[in-house]
């Protein structure tokens, strides 16, 4: 039992007692120097080693710890550019500094050699014997892993409860607006926008793993054969259906399939469903659509080869544990996918068609088995299977992650640019992960078809490529590798003082450029761009080939607070040439 320290005479103050206590420290001079020296050696060794590692890797670039000094020019620029009173300008400059220092601190920790070196060594035993995951990846039973946000949906309070919505409203900070946490508003707004054009909306909230397989997380649910819903789900469904929105809830289907077949509906170490579960849902969804929406018959059909294709992979949640690529704790899982091809001798892989009457907006549950970057095979995703079951072409806009917002934003951007992606559509199927109901940003968006207006932002002509140089004004958010379930990421760079190859100022003098920020769980150089840095890039228009190739990759984009009227800004795709 802990004893109280010696209590000297009662009249002494606490500070006097402390001084007496410190004066009584019993340590030899040699030991004191040794302890102090070792302490200083440890705290100094880390930054020195970090700088040395970085200089060895790239001698041309100053070590990352010095990047902090770059935030000051950004603040000065923000002050100059802000409108309003001195206070408004000061607040803008303050927000710029806060953004820069948060990015700095994140990158400093994310890139620290200490973290990269120690993480796999420490995490492996903690996971194996302690059942300890990470902030994003939780360890379940029998080798199963769970994504934290998805689990929170099931264990947390109702996402429509005041307590939860109040918390969401408090999530913003000086430079990031708080999310709109109420899914009802955004879904109903989207429903109304589509209804005005005679288009039906079907929402498909794909259940998270813990809703269908809770027994794989806690023994308390052994023998459970139902669905674990968030307490607010029924209320949401009722509200939407009362307003005329069609809701297709795949959860009962998957629970029933698990019960009747005994087969797993989700991948063990991944966030997503199995190919069989996806196919089951696609089949029932096709039937659901055909019963409720009158579609004109099509003469296009699709085929699936008789033999399934085997794909083996370690899931995204296992990779989030940061155990390293050569980890042996979680084995690759083999699944059988059924790619979809256009019928005919050429066996062309399935492609979305813009003239289709059905538009599927989807997230990674749509992309899995379709997007090669997810490592689970190609041409066998939700859009493909749905197309196969409906026996008709489908248009698709899919963005990994943030399905509550990203796909609507992509659609809204196309509409604003005068490209009416909703033309000829009869139904929009909006698939998102159910976890988005609790953690997504359900921002209200404009879906008006605009006319291409002259823009101050430069974009090269279609199919042409240009070399330009400019100054980085801002970089959109970049995730820390390992903290997200994906391995690749694209960010946006706002370039100003744009000049062509010969140093002549470019029209508009500014551009917004998509660039790789993370490749195979490693941050790229653009991810570390800082405000005020001069860069030279090879750029081309984003709409076209770059969007087709990279459009479904996880992306972070500027919001309206960062670049005014961002939805109408023409975008570029860029690759770095030199610093």
């Amino acid at each position: 039992m802990t004893d109280k320290t010696d209590t000297p005479e009662p009249r002494l103050t606490r500070e006097q007692i402390a001084k007496i206590e410190i004066g009584r420290t019993d340590i030899s001079r040699r030991a004191a120097w040794l302890l102090a020296g070792c302490f200083l050696a440890v705290v100094c060794a880390v930054p020195l080693a970090q700088c040395a590692c970085e200089l060895l890797a790239d001698p041309s670039r100053p070590p990352q710890p010095l990047d902090i000094f770059r935030s000051l020019p950004a603040a000065a620029r923000a002050y100059r550019q802000a409108d309003g009173s001195v206070l408004d300008k000061a607040l803008a400059a303050n927000a710029a500094v806060l953004r820069a220092k948060d990015r700095f601190a994140d990158t400093l920790e994310g890139l620290s050699f200490q973290s990269r070196l120690l993480r796999p060594l420490v995490q492996a035993p903690m996971t194996r014997w302690g059942g300890q995951g990470t902030e994003k990846a939780y360890v379940g039973r029998d080798g199963w892993l769970f994504f934290r946000d998805a689990l929170d949906l099931v264990t947390g309070p109702g996402f429509l409860e005041r307590r939860h919505l109040a918390k969401r409203r408090a999530e913003g900070n000086e430079y990031t607006p708080a999310p709109q946490g109420d899914p009802r508003k955004a879904i109903l707004q989207f429903h109304d926008q589509l209804a005005r054009r005679g288009i039906r909306l079907i929402v498909v909230p794909v259940p998270v793993k813990a809703m269908i397989h809770p027994e794989k997380f806690s023994a308390r649910f052994d023998g459970f054969d139902g669905v674990l819903y968030n307490p607010s789900f029924e209320r949401l469904k009722r509200t939407l259906e009362d307003a005329g929105v069609l809701v297709f809830d795949p959860a009962p289907l998957l629970a029933e399939a698990r019960k009747s077949t005994g087969r797993e509906q989700f991948l063990r170490t991944d966030t997503h469903w199995t190919p069989e579960a996806m196919d089951l849902v696609a089949g029932h969804l096709a039937e659901f659509v055909s019963r409720r929406v009158a579609l004109t018959p099509y003469r296009v059909s699709y085929v699936r080869p008789a033999g399934p294709v085997k794909v083996a992979n370690v899931g995204d949640i296992a990779r989030m544990l940061g155990l390293g690529e050569d980890q042996r704790l979680f084995k690759a899982q083999t699944v059988e996918i059924r790619p979809v091809f256009a019928a005919g001798a050429a066996r062309l892989m399935w492609r979305p068609r813009k003239d289709a009457q059905v538009l599927l907006l989807g997230d990674s549950f749509t992309n899995v088995y379709s997007l090669d970057g997810m490592r689970w095979g190609e041409s066998a995703g939700l859009a493909e299977q749905l197309s196969f079951h409906m026996k008709r072409p489908i248009d698709r806009i899919a963005r990994n992650d943030a399905g509550a917002f990203a796909t609507r934003r992509a659609l809204g951007r196309k509409l604003a640019a005068g490209r009416d992606r909703l033309e000829g559509k009869k139904v929009v199927i909006w698939q998102f992960a159910a976890r988005e109901l609790a953690v997504g940003d359900w921002k209200l968006l404009d879906m008006t078809v605009g006319k291409p207006a002259p823009s101050n932002f430069f974009v090269p002509d279609a199919d042409s490529t240009m070399v330009v140089s400019g100054t980085v004004s801002a970089v959109s958010a970049v995730p820390r590798p390992g903290s997200v379930p994906y391995k690749d990421h694209i960010c946006q760079i706002h370039l100003i003082d744009l000049k062509d190859n010969s140093g002549r100022p470019m029209p508009g003098r500014q551009a917004v450029v998509f660039m790789w920020s993370m490749r195979d769980k490693k941050l790229t150089r653009p991810a570390r761009y800082r405000e005020g840095q001069s860069v030279t890039l090879r750029i081309r228009a984003w709409l076209g080939e770059p969007e087709r190739l990279h459009g479904r990759t996880n992306t972070s984009e500027f919001n309206e607070d960062e670049i005014e009227d961002i939805l109408n800004v023409p975008l570029c795709w860029g690759e770095e040439i030199s610093q």
């Binding site: 004191a32 040794l34 264990t155």
Partner: protein, 485 residues
């Protein structure tokens, strides 16, 4: 920037120590002030202007109260005679200082709470038309509750004749902003530390003991507080938890807040020692208390003594009869609760402690279970404290009530909330909870542990640093509870 962060430990701290020690003696306070402002500005650069303004006002008020402007600057500042009457100017200066500090605190911390409470009240009595509907997007400046109290105590002490005014602005700014204790205390009174500003020694022994404090504090924070905090977070974020989970979560929070705050205090004391300052003890093994009265003698001592000296005593303390004593205790604890957060649940937390203190005072400062064996008394006190912590941790009052219902067996896990068992009973968390309990009740506190530093103890301290730094490199959950206050 929290002490237990990569940025502080491996970048700010070495740089700060290097700058401090290369600076000649005359410039040490200036460099320490600038470092502290940089440390503070890291949270939000705009807050720096606020702290500077508060510092300047209190500095000038201190000089006015001490009549420094009416005497020669070459003469030493004299402490006012305690019994002499104070002039109108001196009273006004004191009022300006106290009001400016309370206004700062009131606006940034309590404006929205007051506006919301007023709106709820008028709505409840059917006067909807009188609603203010004014909620401002206010960011609470970091550490404002601490530095306003600290700086206010200075002018009050000067006025009372308990401390001399400080003439050197840099010294005063350094006292208010000193980064080791700026954001979470301990709350230091100027009169107790003034002599250290005049002269203090920097010895290897002091530095080594400071390093030992920092290592122990870091280990408490990273190895115990953060892991227990994860369990508490799961339990409190869950929709509705069962009986066992609720108690387990509340105990986890009790450990989290203790190791979080006492670990931070240890690091603050250690950093102070490295810079030559000696700060007093802030925690004295509070969970070995056998009554709530004893708990408050051991928990956050710098706050409880501040409240005693600047609130309880001026209210009359125990000198105005028994009934008034109980009222004073209740008022102090209610305001203590409100100091922690502008919400009804903090008020309830303060009220619970205030009521229990009053009951124990009526019984001669002994608990109602004082006849039971010591371990049982300790356990019962811990259980009461845990129960009260629920109001401290919950998102709001209804959440706290719902959680308490689970703790007395009236609530139950609704749907998926029972799933949290899959995480909170994992071996890693069970071991951490057991470790936290062992350190709480079986290990010596940091002051005792570091009093005699032998070679094995030095090795142990360095091992704690290595373990703390290693886990820190992999840990993403690293909140600091008192940052919110």
């Amino acid at each position: 920037m929290v002490f237990s962060s990569h940025l502080f430990l491996f970048y700010f701290l070495p740089a700060a120590l290097a700058l401090y020690y290369v600076m000649p003696r005359r410039g040490k306070h200036l460099v320490l002030t600038l470092l502290s402002y940089a440390f503070y500005g890291w949270a939000n650069p705009l807050f720096v202007t606020l702290m500077f303004t508060s510092t300047l006002v209190d500095y000038l008020c201190g000089l006015v109260i001490a009549r420094q402007f009416s005497t020669s600057w070459s003469q030493p500042v004299r402490v006012l005679d305690r019994d002499a009457p104070r002039s109108r100017t001196q009273r006004i200066a004191l009022i300006v200082s106290v009001c400016s500090n309370l206004a700062l605190l009131g606006f940034f911390k309590y404006f929205n709470f007051a506006a919301e409470s007023y709106d709820s009240l008028v709505a409840a009595v059917g006067l909807e038309g009188l609603r203010l509907d004014t909620i401002l997007q206010i960011t609470l400046p970091l550490g404002i509750s601490f530095y306003t109290f600290q700086s206010m105590s200075y002018t009050i002490d000067v006025y009372r004749g308990e401390a001399g005014a400080v003439r050197n602005f840099i010294d005063f700014a350094c006292y208010v902003s000193m980064f080791p204790q700026l954001v979470a205390g301990p709350i230091i009174r100027f009169r107790e530390i003034a002599d250290q500003f005049a002269s203090r020694d920097h010895t290897a022994e002091k530095f080594a003991r400071g390093a030992a404090f920092v290592c122990c504090g870091l280990a408490k924070k990273v190895l115990l507080a953060n892991t227990c905090g994860k369990v508490a977070d799961m339990a409190f974020k869950a929709g509705s938890v069962g009986f066992v989970d609720a108690w387990y979560g509340a105990a986890a929070y009790a450990f989290q807040i203790y190791f979080d705050f006492s670990g931070y205090s240890d690091m603050a004391i250690g950093l102070g020692l490295m810079l030559g300052f000696v700060f007093p003890k802030n925690f004295d093994s509070p969970y070995v208390a056998q009554s709530i009265t004893e708990f408050w003698r051991r928990w956050h001592i710098s706050l409880s003594t501040w409240l005693r000296d600047y609130l309880y005593f001026p209210l009359g303390g125990n000198r105005k009869g028994r009934a008034r004593t109980y009222v004073n205790l209740a008022v102090v604890m209610l305001l203590g609760g409100l100091w922690h957060g502008a919400a009804a649940n903090f008020l309830v937390w303060g009220a619970i402690h205030g009521a229990l203190l009053a009951v124990e005072r009526a019984r001669g400062k002994s608990s109602i279970y004082h006849r039971l064996p010591r371990p049982v008394k300790i356990l019962l006190t811990f259980i009461i404290v845990c129960f009260a912590w629920v109001f401290f941790r919950a998102d709001n009052l209804p959440h706290a009530v719902a959680y308490c219902r689970s703790m007395i067996g009236l609530g139950g896990p609704a749907g998926g909330a029972a799933l949290i068992a899959g995480l909170i009973y994992q071996p890693y968390y069970l071991i951490s909870m057991a470790g936290a309990a062992a350190v709480t009740w079986l290990c010596p506190q940091t002051w005792d542990f570091t009093r005699r530093i032998t070679a094995p103890k030095a090795a142990c301290v360095l091992a704690l640093l290595a373990a703390g730094a290693t886990v820190l490199a992999t840990q993403e959950f690293n909140p600091f509870i008192y940052f919110l206050f």
